[in-house]
Symmetry: C3
C-alpha cells in the first residue's frame, strides 16, 4: 500500500477540520493542521457546533476539553448524520470517574472513524470502559518488542468492536482497522518531552481521514508515519544545534510543512502483524 | 503622511491593551503586543472587565471568544464612556446564526474605533449583518487588482456608516476611515499558513489606536504595513533556512520586535484610492 | 547550601505537576515543566480535580485563571490533606475587587508551600489583602539596590505570617522562608518582553517543591536561579542571532532543558540578607 497518497490528498483537498480540543495545545494543533495542508476551525460553543460542523470535512474530539463533551456529542451526532469522519483523542480517559463516565457517554452517542491514544488510554477502552475489569490487557501497559503481537490482537479486537480504526502511539505505534494491523517504528523519545505530541497526532488523524475518507486505515498509518519521520528529522536538528524541547516543537511542525508524500513511503518502518 | 510615527508613539507610550480574545491564538497576541512595545492584559471575566478596562489604553474584542460577548459588551461600553479606543475582530461573523446574532448585539452596544477582518467578514458587515441581502458586495469575495477600487468604495461606505476605521486584510489590504481609503500591498502568502495572523493584526490595531488615538487611520495603516513588512522579512528567513510555518510564526513576531519606525515608511506599498 | 541538588531531584523524581492555570501561557508552562524534567497535567474541571490531584507530586494555582478559583480551593484542600506542596501565583491580585476577594478566599482555605509574584502582587499580600492599608510597604514598589534590605524584611515577615516561602521576581529577586532571606541577581530585561515569564516561574516553583519537599526554600532559590541563568543564556543567543522576543521564549525553555545541576551553583548570584 502506498501511504503517501493520503498526504497527497490532504494537500490537494485542503480539508477543513473542526476541533473541539483543549486549551493547552490548541495553538499547536491548529498550526499542525495548517502545516499538513488543511485548515483548522476551533469553535466549541454548543450553540453553534451543530451548524458549524456541516461545512467541515472532519471533526476532532479531544477529551482534554472535558468540559466540552456536550459540544462533542452535538457536533459528533451531526457529523455522523452527514458522513463526516470523526476522530477521538481519549485523553486520560481512565484516570478519574468524570473521564470514565464522559468517555462512555461519548462512545455511546458518536461513531468515531479513528481513535488515537496512548497505551493506557486504549487499554481502558479495550476493557470496555471498566477499570481493572474485563479482558486481560496487561500486555498493553507499554508496547515493546515482547508484547507487540499480543497488543496488536487486543487493538484489532477493539477496532472490530467499535467499528473504527484504532491507533496507539508510543515507542512502537500500532494501527488496526480490525482486519489489518501494523506496528510502526518511526519517531523519537523527545516527542514525549513536549506537550501536545498526542493532540497534534489526533488532529492529523482527523485531517487525513477527512481527505482520504474511503481509506481511513491508510490515512491513519500515513499521518502516524509522517509524524514519526518528522520527529526523527526534528531530533537530528535538535542534536545538531544543541537546542531543547521548545525548538523541537517548532522543528516538528516545520518538518510536516516540508514533508513530501514520497517521504512517507521512503521512511516508513512498518510491519504487518 | 508618515506612518512610522504611530510605531514611535507605541514605543514611547507603551500602551496597556486589554484583550478579550480566543484560546487558540491568545499567547501569540500577547507576545505580538509585547513585541510592538506595549503590554497585554487578557482578563475576560465579566465580574471584573468593567473595572479592569478603566486602567487600559485600548480594548480588543475578538469574536473567536464567542462565549465572552457579554464581557466584550460590558468592557466595551465602559471603554466608550472613558474614551478608550476599542478594536473589533469579527471572526467568522457571518458563518453561523449565533455569530450573526452576537455580531449585531456587539455593534448595537459598542462603538469601535477600528474593525479588522478578512474580506468575507467585512462583506458580512457591509451587508448590514444580513446574509445574502442588501448592497451588492460580491466585489469583495477576495480583493484583487480587478475589484480593488469597487471594494474600496464599499469599505469607505461601511466606515462612514459605523463611524470607524475599517481594515480588510488579504493579498491586498484595504484601510478606510470613510474619507481616505488606501490599498496596501505588503505581506506574503505564508501568513495564511499560520493560525493567528488575523488575531495578531487586530491586537496590533488596538495597541496602535491606543497609542495614537488622535489618528486611528494612521495607526491602522501603520500596523497593517508593519505586519506586512514583518511577513516579507520572515518569509525571506523561512526560505533561506528551509524551515516551515512554525518557524515563520516566530520570525514574524521577532521582526515586529526589531521593526524601526523608519522601516514602515521605507517599506510601505500604499496606494490612495 | 548547594541549590543544584533540587534540580537533581527533579530530574530523578520526575514529579507530576497539576496546574490550574490561565489560557494565555498554559502551553509554555507545560513545556517548561517538561524541560525541567517533570510532567504536567492541566486539568481544571471542578468535578475531577479532587480526585486528580491525589496522584500528583505538586499543585500550581495561577490566579490568571480567575474563573477557576473554586477548582483551586477543592484541589488545594485535598493537596493539603495529602501533604502535597501547593504553589500560588497571585496574578494581578490587588488590581480589581474580584481579585482581591478571591485572593482572600484562596488564602483562607488553602495553605501554600510557596507563593511567587512580582513586587506589586507580594506588596498586596503583605498589606493583608487590603489596598493602601496596613504596614508601610512602599519600599517594594520595585526592588532595587536602595530598598532591597527593607523589602527583604517585609518578605520575611509575610513568609512567617503565612508559614510559606515567598518569592518576589523582578530585576532583583527575593526569596524568604521567614528565617533565611536571599537576594538573587540573575536574569535579564527581555524576560519582561515575553508573556508568561512569571507563570513559568511559578510552575517551576511547584515542580521543584514537589521534588524537594523537605526543603522548599532550597527548591525555590534553585528554580528562580535556574530561570535567571536560562534568561541570561537566552539573551546572549538573542543578541548573537539578532532575533526577538518570540525566539527568546524558545531559547529560554531550551536552556532549562539543557541546564545541569552544577550550572545553578556555578552561576548563582546570591546574597544572604
Amino acid at each position: 500500500m502506498e501511504f503517501g497518497e493520503s498526504l497527497r490528498l490532504v494537500r490537494s483537498r485542503k480539508p477543513l477540520v473542526e476541533c473541539i480540543t483543549n486549551i493547552v495545545t490548541v495553538n499547536d494543533c491548529a498550526n499542525m493542521i495548517l502545516a499538513a495542508g488543511g485548515s483548522p476551525a476551533m469553535t466549541m460553543d454548543i450553540r453553534e457546533v451543530r451548524e458549524g460542523v456541516a461545512g467541515m470535512q472532519a471533526l476532532v474530539c479531544n477529551m482534554g476539553a472535558i468540559d466540552y463533551v456536550d459540544s462533542m456529542i452535538v457536533a459528533g451526532e451531526r457529523a455522523n448524520e452527514l458522513g463526516i469522519p470523526v476522530a477521538l483523542d481519549p485523553v486520560a480517559c481512565g484516570t478519574t470517574e468524570l473521564r470514565r463516565t464522559q468517555t462512555r457517554r461519548l462512545l455511546d452517542c458518536v461513531h468515531f472513524s479513528v481513535i488515537r491514544g496512548n497505551a493506557s488510554e486504549i487499554r481502558f477502552l479495550a476493557q470496555g470502559g471498566k477499570t481493572g475489569a474485563g479482558v486481560d490487557v496487561k500486555a498493553m501497559d507499554e508496547i515493546n518488542e515482547n508484547n507487540v503481537r499480543e497488543s496488536g490482537e487486543i487493538v484489532a479486537e477493539l477496532a472490530r468492536r467499535l467499528n473504527t480504526v484504532i491507533a496507539v502511539s508510543g515507542k512502537i505505534d500500532l494501527v488496526s482497522d480490525g482486519r489489518q494491523t501494523v506496528a510502526l517504528r518511526n519517531g523519537c523519545a523527545t516527542m514525549a518531552r513536549i506537550t501536545g505530541s498526542g493532540c497534534m497526532l489526533t488532529s492529523l488523524a482527523g485531517e487525513f481521514a477527512g481527505a482520504d475518507r474511503e481509506n481511513v486505515f491508510r490515512a491513519t498509518v500515513a499521518c502516524m508515519t509522517m509524524m514519526g519521520i518528522a520527529g526523527e528529522r526534528a531530533e537530528e536538528k535538535r542534536i545538531r544545534f544543541g537546542t531543547g524541547n521548545a525548538s523541537f516543537r517548532t522543528y516538528l511542525i516545520d518538518e510536516v510543512f516540508n514533508m513530501e508524500p514520497e517521504d512517507i513511503d521512503a521512511g516508513i518502518r512498518c510491519e504487518y502483524l
